[in-house]
Amino acid sequence: MNIDPLLFQLSEVSFAYRNTKVLEGIDLQLDKGRFYGLIGANGSGKSTLIELLMGMHKTVTGDILYKNKLMESYSRQELATQLALVPQNFTMGFEYQVRDVVLMGRHPHIPRFSSPSTPDLQAVDEAMQTMDITHLQSRPVSALSGGELQRVVMARALAQETEVLILDEATSNLDIHHTIAIMQVMRKRVDKQGLTVIAAIHDLNLAAAFCDECLVLRDGQIFDHGPVEELFTSELLHAAFEVEATIQRQGDHGRPQIQFRYQ
């Protein structure tokens, strides 16, 4: 049996807000069961690319195929069972409890007027355990710290149990312990359960340590992409981020470690 690993296929995609071009000439293929990092300077188009992958905007030119079907041909509900997003910012309108918010991740799986089933509740408990927020479950979300809130949002996305998890700088509010914990959880799910992760990451060392492949965006175009072991070079960092850095590798094909030159 031959399973097509291809998930996303973007050809000649461009996108603009009103008259401001944000993305141009994006050709991209993303496969199932891989951990992709999306890196690039502020304003390089990472968030917009993520929104396009989530089907939140129509492209200006070019097509996005998901599982060989046009993105537009899916209903929101269908997409919600396939793709989950962990946004960068998160605000909550009302005083819902942590558990209720995580349960909202099950929304696309629960038919209208039905109560959550046992598997729904199990997924919620499991996600809360994974994100280390079980002890917070009956707290109102408004009473949480930024990092706790970020873990709640992450748990909600995990509870959604989708094939693809898309993160928009989701670890930016977290301490190093929880950052590593989240990255490890995702790495494990990619390896064991065939999850696909697409994560915009600012911390290049984090991207280098956990991703399989990185896409480098610059000025709305894909500047470079490839496996992290080969991709990171001083020249690339200079060209994409305008920083000076040396790259160290452990062994021949080890993961690179970046040391920035601050002065």
Binding site: M54, A80, F94
Partner: protein, 343 residues
């Protein structure tokens, strides 16, 4: 999320509303015992004559008091549900039908209907006022939307801002109508302050015909409304057609507001206080909150109307009463909440 406790609360509210209707019907210049009220109602339902009591009682109950009482309860429920929907959509616990200018639009339309006679056009008021109020509300809704339209994600800030602008223009328009109205001005003013005097079964029917289907409609989307508390972007990713649900629910809540304003005038604070209070008791889950708001709003407005009708020596406009009691009460809640946040 336990479902039994909120359900019990709703059942209690429902029983309380029924009891309030019976009690209020007995109150007034002619005192009628609650048991006699039930007897009269029972006899009416069974199609018989009620025996063994003052023969004017059935007339007072069925033709004078009950239509007014039911209208008050329905309008209270409708305004509270509309308020809860606006709040859930705008993610602003302090929003209500007024923030979007919907009430002002309905009031403008209705005032226009009242002064039509000045231009020699005579349309029966029971017909023209609701229709004009409805078109006023819808016109305002369309105006507010098209002002906010370039931002087609309908963000709440843009919507509220547009609502405030449109409402300001409309209240100037109402002022102009009052200036034109001359002799009719007292009718307009009394009506603008809100009143249930002289409501008939026609009002009960027209209000029921809009408010009850409206309630069912918003209940159908109650869970989507919950998800929308996560913000539009996130709600979209969870499979909610946010922009579409928003539009439909705004339309529905505006319709409810229009019918309420057209039968009773402007009655403030019900749509603000009831959802707010009940959210503090029941939590924000709209599946529970919306039906509770309907019952709670009904109880509040029925209570307020009974106070002006049966207790006060002379009747004052109910809109004035709800604002006089509701305003300071709301300030108290708001202040308490601010203090709790800062400590």
């Amino acid at each position: 999320m336990t479902i039994s406790r909120p359900l019990l609360f709703i059942v209690l509210l429902f029983l309380f509303l029924c009891a309030a209707i019976v009690l209020a019907t007995g109150m007034g210049f002619l005192k009628i015992a609650p048991l006699e009220v039930i007897q009269i109602l029972w006899a009416q339902l069974a199609g018989q004559e009620a025996n063994g009591m003052d023969p004017t009682f059935p007339f007072v109950v069925m033709e004078v008091r009950l239509p007014r009482i039911l209208t008050a309860a329905l309008v209270g429920g409708g305004l509270a549900v509309a308020g809860a929907v606006f709040q859930a959509i705008l993610l602003n616990p302090l929003a209500d039908p007024y923030t979007l200018g919907i009430s002002s639009g309905a009031a403008f339309g209705a005032s226009l209907a009242i002064i039509l006679t000045l231009f020699g056009i005579t349309v029966p008021a029971w017909f023209s006022i609701p229709i004009f109020a409805f078109f006023g509300a819808m016109g305002t809704l369309i105006g507010v939307f098209s002002l906010a339209a370039p931002d087609n994600r309908l963000s709440s800030n843009t919507l509220i801002l547009s609502g405030v602008i449109v409402a300001a223009i409309l209240s100037a328009g109402i002022g102009f109508i009052k200036y034109l109205a001359d002799e009719q001005v007292s009718i307009i003013i009394f009506w603008l302050m809100g009143s249930f005097v002289g409501r008939t079964w026609t009002d009960v029917l027209s209000t029921t015909a809009v408010v009850l289907p409206g309630l069912l409609f918003v209940l159908y989307f109650a869970r989507d409304l919950n998800i929308m508390a996560l913000g539009e972007r996130t709600a979209d990713t969870l499979g909610v057609e946010t922009a579409r649900v928003k539009k439909m629910l705004l339309l529905c809540a505006s319709l409810i507001t229009a019918i309420c304003v057209s039968v009773s005038g402007i009655i403030g604070f019900v749509g603000l206080i009831i959802p707010h209070l009940l959210r503090m008791i029941l939590g924000p889950d709209n599946r529970v909150l919306l039906p509770a708001c309907f019952l709670g709003g009904g109880i509040l407005l029925l209570g307020a109307d009974t106070i002006t009708r049966a207790w006060l020596p002379s009747e004052i406009p109910i809109g004035v009463l709800t604002s006089l009691i509701g305003g300071p009460f709301f300030c108290y809640i708001f202040r308490k909440k601010q203090l709790a946040l800062s400590s």
